[in-house]
């Protein structure tokens, strides 16, 4: 079976700074794969490199059996869509939800826009009442639902999720995570998800990669992490940190 995403020895260099130092990754179709690490570890850069938003210096990215060149074509974006961290920054402030959702349909020449928009809004639990609102009239959670609807409207097979809930309140986070799991189950999507929160990654993903300063530290199954079968000190530190503050008296 061909991998959904296969990344081989990928290097990303910004000016002289090596943000990714030969990272390899393999995600199977239908799998949910997590990337964990602290800020500056390169986890978001890896995601953006796959989406074509970061300067790749060397290495290869293969998506659904097709090796990607320096430019992404339209067909790529029908397969791969991205949801960004900040729902306040990723939606156009002067476009209605309807307009936001029409844009990808227009680019890709879909004729049945009306039906698709309604279906996409229903799918993310917003309904038609939100269709002609502007993003400033929505809460953070509702905005992120719009961003997810926009990603799903082209019926991609792969979603790239860059910290999709870190700007949201805990209770809203639970709703958005549930929504993501539901659409993945229904549409048999492949997820590649970035988060700094180990608990979210173990909740959402079957396998994960821990990253530090542009390199892969280790690859783990989520079950290993739960059982604390980790081999690297760095991962152990992250695990301990996610347990909360412990007073050393």
């Amino acid at each position: 079976m061909t991998s959904a995403i296969a990344v081989d020895r990928l290097e990303v260099i910004f000016d002289r700074f090596r943000a990714l130092k030969g990272v390899s990754l393999d995600v199977q179709p239908g799998e949910s794969f997590g990337l964990v690490g602290e800020s500056g570890s390169g986890k978001s850069t890896l995601l953006r490199a796959i989406a074509g938003l970061a300067p790749v210096a060397s290495g290869s990215i293969v998506v659904n059996g097709k090796t990607l060149g320096p430019r992404r074509d339209k067909a790529f974006y029908r397969e791969v869509q991205m949801v960004f961290q900040d729902p306040y920054g990723s939606l156009h402030p002067r476009q209605t939800v309807d307009r936001l959702l029409q844009e990808p349909l227009a680019i890709h020449g879909f004729a049945d826009g009306e039906k698709r928009i309604q279906r996409a809004l229903d799918e993310v639990g917003l309904g038609n009442g939100f269709r002609f609102r502007y993003s400033h009239q929505l809460s953070g959670g509702q905005r992120q639902r719009v961003a997810i609807a926009r990603a799903l409207i082209l019926e991609p097979s792969i979603l790239l999720l860059d910290e999709p809930t870190s700007a949201l309140d805990a209770s809203v986070q639970a709703e958005v995570l549930n929504l993501l799991e539901e659409v993945r189950r229904r549409r048999k999507l492949t997820f590649l998800m970035v988060s700094h929160d180990l608990a979210i990654i173990t909740h959402m993903c079957e396998r994960l990669m821990v990253m530090q300063s542009g390199e892969a530290v280790e690859n783990l199954a989520a079950a290993d992490l739960v059982e604390r079968r980790v081999t690297k000190d760095y991962t152990r530190n992250l695990l301990r940190a996610s347990d909360g503050f412990v007073r050393t008296a």
Binding site: E38, S39, G140, D169, A170, S171, V172, Q173, A174, E175, L177, N178, E181, E182, H196, D197, L198, A199, I200, T202, H203, M204, L225, V226, N237, L238, L239, A241, S242, G244, F245, V246, R247, T248
Partner: protein, 281 residues
């Protein structure tokens, strides 16, 4: 009477109201609590009024907002009737505040050392050389390894964790009796978060300060504080000891604890909060 009493801060029926085009918005609706030399956590989601509570105590409420309270007293001083000048003297000297993101809350065009010295010399009559020495000692106390180098750096030249330590140093240099920390570690990485909390914890207990720790993270707060106040829609819905968080009564507190993913808990889908209108009533 103020010196003997253990209560540092007394808040009774605090209300903060913002006039808007569509009418009055009550951000804080009758919050009451008292603080001794302890660590008190205020937890709530965005819009719950937790930050506005902290700002009202600090005197940083925007001018168009209206504050009212039966009592808002710090060490016997009525904060509502005190003059702006006296308020300024309190702020920074006896009450300090740490903000969320050092990137925005430090002065970008002033070196870290000068900012710390400025705070100190505003509140105490000390010479330049002594101020510098004390600033360096303070930077060392917040576990900055090379204080004399960091002293001359500007905020953009240091990492988030380092910036937040510098901010703690700046807030502690005048020796405040009470500290308000508004999401002091939310902008930091998890491992750095613990370092900063450790420093804060040590300094607060060494100096016997009262701490108000404002955060959205219920679990973090309960591992750090002695007592926790849970706010919802501008009101306190529950007050409890941090160690008894497991026995929380209010459905909101319980829902908030429950809806976070936990390592090792296999719950699909996650339980979500079912917000009841009577919680906000």
């Amino acid at each position: 009477m103020s010196r003997e009493t253990k209560t540092l801060l007394d808040v009774d029926d605090l209300r903060v109201t913002f006039p808007t085009r569509t009418g009055l918005i009550e951000a804080v609706r009758g919050v009451s609590f008292s603080l001794g030399r302890e660590r008190l956590g205020i937890v709530g989601e965005s819009g719950s009024g937790k930050s506005q509570t902290g700002r009202a105590i600090m005197g940083l409420t925007p001018p168009q907002a209206r504050i009212s309270a039966n009592k808002l007293a710090f060490d016997g001083i009525d904060l509502l009737s005190v003059s702006p000048r006296e308020r300024r003297a309190l702020r920074g000297k006896r009450i300090a505040m740490i903000l969320q993101d050092p990137k925005y809350s430090l002065d970008p065009v002033m070196s870290i050392g000068r900012q710390i010295v400025e705070t100190l010399r505003t509140h105490e009559k000390v010479g330049k050389a002594e101020a510098r020495d004390r600033a360096l000692a303070m930077l060392e106390a917040v576990q900055i390894r090379d204080p004399s180098r960091v002293f001359n750096l500007h905020p953009h030249e240091v990492s988030g964790g380092m910036g937040q330590r510098a901010m703690i140093a700046m807030m502690l240099i005048a020796g405040p009796e009470m500290m308000i920390a508004d999401e002091p570690t939310s902008a930091l990485d998890v491992t750095v978060q613990l370092d900063v909390l450790g420093i804060l914890d040590r300094l607060v207990s060494e100096r016997g300060m009262g701490l108000i720790f404002i955060s959205h993270d219920l679990r973090l707060v309960s591992s750090f504080c002695d007592r926790v106040i849970v706010m919802y829609a501008g009101k306190v819905v529950e007050q409890l000891k941090a160690s008894e968080l497991g026995q929380a009564q209010h459905p909101y507190t319980r829902g908030l604890l429950n809806c976070m993913p936990k390592i090792g808990a296999d719950r699909h889908p996650l339980p979500v909060l079912d917000r009841k209108p009577e919680w906000a009533a």
